[in-house]
Structures are given as C-alpha cells and as structure tokens.
Subunit: 329 residues, 2 copies
C-alpha cells in the first residue's frame, strides 16, 4: 500500500484538520471531529445533514456551505458514521425549522441515520438516495446503492432549503430528485482501504468491472476493457432506460471520476456520453465533470443523468459556496 499518510489510525482526523484549515472561511469542525459544519447557519432554515464513510471526497464535507449542506458526518473510510455524530451535528446546526437527513442507501448508514432520527427530539425527515441502476442489492446494500447522484440531490435540495422551503417540501423534493436521477459506473482498477492495506478486489490487466459500486463492490459483470464509446453507451444507456426519458427531456450530465482517472479521459467520456444522449433525443442542459464522488484512488468513472424541470434547474443554478462546488457567490 502506497499512500501519503502518517499512521493508519489517524488518516481521517489529520485529513479533516487539513480540510478545515484549507476551508476555514466556509467550515468549522465539530468537537472530536464528529462533523464538519457551515461556519454560519441561517436561523429559520431547515438544516441539511448528510454523511457516510470517508474515502469518497469531496463528498460529503466538500459540499458543506451556503446553498448545500449544513453539516456532514464523516465515518472512517468506507464505514458509517455513528448516530452520536449525527445527533451532535443536528444539535449544532438546527435553525429551528427541522432537520433533513440525506442518506445514501447502505445498510450501515441507513441503520445509524434511522437511529439518530428516532433519538432526535426535533422535527426531522430523511431522503434516501439510491441512484445506482447497476444492481439490486449489493455487498453493503439492500436495494439499490446511493452513488454520485447524491451530489445532485444535495445541490438541488440545498438550494431549496436556502430559499426557505419547509421540511415537508424538501423531503418531497429530495425524493423526486432521487427518482429522476440514475447513475452507473465502471472500474478499471481497485481502491485500497488504508486499514485493509491491500486492494479491495483483484482485476486483470485487460478487464473492467461494469456497474461497480463506490466501495469497489461487484457490478453487473467482469469483462474485457471496452472502448470509451462502448462504455458510455452502456452506462448512459442504463441511466436512460431506468428513467424512461422522452425525447426533448432536459437533463444534467455528471461524468464523475472515481479518483484515479485523469480529467483528459473524463472529458473524453463526456464527449462519448453526449453522443449517446443525443441519440436518444435527450438534451444536456448542464454539465459537471470531475472527481466528486470518489472511491479513494480507484480508476474508472460513473455517468449520472438527472432529469430536471424548470424549478430543479433553477435550484441547480442557484448560488453555492462550498469547498468542492462554487458558483454564483
């Protein structure tokens, strides 16, 4: 294992200290590194809290700030945060209008966020993200996995929270965005969890894992590496099929790097995905390209297609000021 670390036991806390120092204008750390929160919260606004295992940076801490999350609870690498973290975060950022949890559909996260929701003596609701169309059920999941589409849910719901939408309205919007969002990924290499010290899976020099999860979980099948066009056809095709989009429908296209694939290739995949979407008559109205929901240093990418109406598009375009996404302010 080759990593820029000091000690396996302190990877997360040292990284969070660096993150907090680098973005001191936006975030502060909770006690004992339990959560990352906005420096300033807005009274009367619903508080948005997400979290999950680390190793997917910039998700989620990189999306804390104006227009997106109020707090993020980081677990150890690929390990759920605890209910105590979520309760401490809720205590810290609740503005009196309730708390919305945004949770990726993994068994550990679901159990711990549910426990926090039950223990929390404030009005709360939960949006579950399960945008990965590759497989039903998986190593850590019952049902579909939550992957890169989480970013889109957090951005759109975050903007709605900023304009003052109620908890019930945000829960409903989050569910709707999740339903309109589909993702699928491919891995060319494995990732290595620091505490494990060896690659999560083995893969041949000419193979790819089609439909991989963001923890290196198995996808649909292990096959010979295809061309970018073939891969884009399968990934974007699976998203289109899942969403049953009619020609003329407007979408956001997110080409997400898993960590080890350079931008040169990600933009090539954007070009390839465009052809697939154009072929289906779908209109890409917004783009996001880069490593946003990663799997440590895994090589590969995912394609996310999110259908948007006028309101969702305006919320996507609304100002955001976080470590990893910033526009309009």
């Amino acid at each position: 294992m080759k990593k820029l670390i000091n000690d396996i036991g302190t990877v997360l806390t040292e990284s969070l200290d660096g993150f907090a120092a680098a973005h001191a204008d936006i975030v502060t750390l909770g006690a004992e590194h339990q959560f990352v929160r906005r420096k300033q919260t807005k009274p009367g606004k619903v508080a948005l809290i997400s979290g999950g295992g680390s190793g997917h940076e910039p998700l989620h801490a990189g999306f804390v700030g104006h227009g997106m999350l109020d707090a993020a609870c980081p677990g150890q690498v690929f390990t759920s945060p605890t209910p105590n973290q979520m309760l401490a975060a809720a205590e810290s950022v609740d503005g009196g209008a309730g708390v919305l949890f945004i949770v990726k559909n993994y068994s550990g996260d679901m159990m711990n966020f549910q426990m926090a929701a039950e223990m929390l003596d404030r009005e709360n609701a939960t949006v579950i993200v399960n945008d990965d169309v590759a497989v039903e059920n998986s190593t850590y999941t019952t049902g579909r996995r939550g992957v890169a589409g989480t970013l889109i849910v957090e951005k759109i719901v975050g903007a709605a929270a900023e304009r003052g939408d109620s908890l019930a309205a945000l829960k409903s919007l989050g569910d709707a965005v999740n339903s309109a969002t589909a993702s699928m990924g491919v891995a060319l290499s494995s990732c290595t969890v620091p505490a494990a010290g060896k690659p999560t899976f083995q893969i041949g020099a000419d193979e790819m894992e089609m439909g991989v999860g963001i923890h290196g979980e198995p996808g649909r099948r292990r096959v010979k590496l295809g061309s970018a066009n073939e891969i884009a056809a399968e990934l974007a095709g699976a998203c289109l099929k899942d969403l049953s989009l009619k020609p003329g429908r407007e979408v956001i296209l997110l080409v997400n790097g898993f960590g080890g694939t350079p931008l040169l290739e990600l933009y090539l995949m954007v070009n390839a995905a465009h052809k697939v979407l154009a072929g289906a008559g779908v209109k890409v109205v917004r783009h996001l390209t880069g490593p946003f929901v990663t799997s440590l240093e895994m090589a590969g990418c995912s394609i996310t297609v999110s259908a948007v109406d006028v309101d969702a598009l305006a919320l996507w375009d609304a100002p955001v000021h976080t470590a990893a996404l910033r526009w309009g302010c």
Copy 2:
C-alpha cells in the same frame, strides 16, 4: 495500459470536444482544435495565452476564462504545441493591447513559443515559469522546470490583465510572481502516456521519487516511501529554503495532486505542510487543494508556496470564472 479511450490517435481531440461541450458557457474551440479560447474577450485588454503538452489537465484549458487566460494551446500528451497554434490563438484573442505568453520552462515549449513570439506581428512579451526547486536541468528542460506554480502566475497575472494593466506591467508582475513561487513534488507511481502504452518509469512497491517532474522526470533521488510528515517537511522545506522567507511573510499554499492521489490524502498533506510552514513562522493566508497540474494518473503530489504582498493577494482573490477555478463571479 488501461484507459477510457477509443483510439490513441484521437484522445486529445475527443477530450477537447468533451471539454468544449461541458463548458460551452465559458470557452469555444479554435479550428482544428488548435486552441481553446474564451467565448468573450475584452477589447483593449492584454491577451494572455498559455499552453503546453496535454496530460496536465485542468492546466491550461481549465484556466481559460474571465480573470485568467484568454486562450490555451494544447499539444499532444506531454508534447509541445506548435507555433502555428500560438499564432492562431493570438490572432483570435488579441484585443489590441498586446499578447502575453505564459510558458513553462521546457525546451520544446520554449522553442515553439519563442518562434511564435518572433513571427507574431503584434506587440508581445513572455513570462517563463520555472518554479520547480527540485533540480536544475532535467529530461526536457534546461534550468528549472515549470510546474504547479504556473497556476498561481496565471491567476494573479490574469486578474491584473482584467483590471487593465499594460503588457509591460504584466510581464514584470509575472516575473515577480514566478520569483516568489516555489514548488516541489513527489511521485508514488508512474503515469502512462497513451501513445507509449506503458508506464513512463518503473518504481518499487515501497519507493517514492522525491522531486519528480510533472512528466515523470527523475527528481532528486529514489528512496523508501516516507511518512506524510517527512514528505511535507522535505517538499515545503525546499520551497521555504528557495524563497528565503522571513517569519511573518504571507503565502498561498497549493497542495496539488498529480492525478492518482485522493483528496483524503491531499488534505492530510495540507495538515502536514501547515506544521512545517508554521514552524518557519510563515503565515498561510490562502489555500488551494486538489488535482490542478497533473501528470495523467500519477500518484503523488506537489507543494507550492507563493509569497504574496497586498496587491498580489488582492489579485488572487479577484473574480475568476474558468472550468477549474471559479470564485467571485
């Protein structure tokens, strides 16, 4: 070689097509993919043009837009663009106040930009960036290499061009920023140039290349992998030594990923670099962290320290709207 590509011969053009589609609000492509330019240029403003081999994305095309570059000329991977590309770019974006070329110090780039400067029938000047303190002379370089500090030169000079500084003033500012900027990097793995099809260099499972260049060129020495703290001490220490900074001096700290190292580790390196700089009494007033000047999928990072006065800091903070850097607009 495992990459998300269709054909080795069209990697660059397909990637540029994807880039232009993804950022159609900011850039347009020149004919025959000769350059990437701002969609809108400002008459009476000095035009800033950079470029170099591809494979370092988002450098340079990702820095084209308001507040930074007017155009970028992409060569094939790790190969200089041609003088014709630079002349076509200059023709396209010159606003009548002259052209400033920003060139990383590699023999191919230097020769071709110099040829373009001589052929160009418009007032022009050139800023040479050579911020890499690791070694004098290298595989492709006479003198020091230009690496991640290029981004800082492009941002600060770009902001000054936007406010209307003259060509002579920008040339002088660019030289000053370059002199105040030092970088050094470390690689844990090699990169693979698509046309070569195999890793640029071999490195042992427990080794690192200390002082590596952004094309995988040799650095100071090949040694056993050290801890993040040891690596930060050497990288940041070399920058501090080169700049001879007095205690109390204000700096921008750029922790740059080479492509294959996750953000989790880069932020851990921020934390480690902070301790080194604090120990020297230097004050980090701004941060930038992420893969900005990459070497395809190489694992590793570089540390850049750039000393700033009040004017340079204001120019760093000035609005920028490019694919890879965006704030204030």
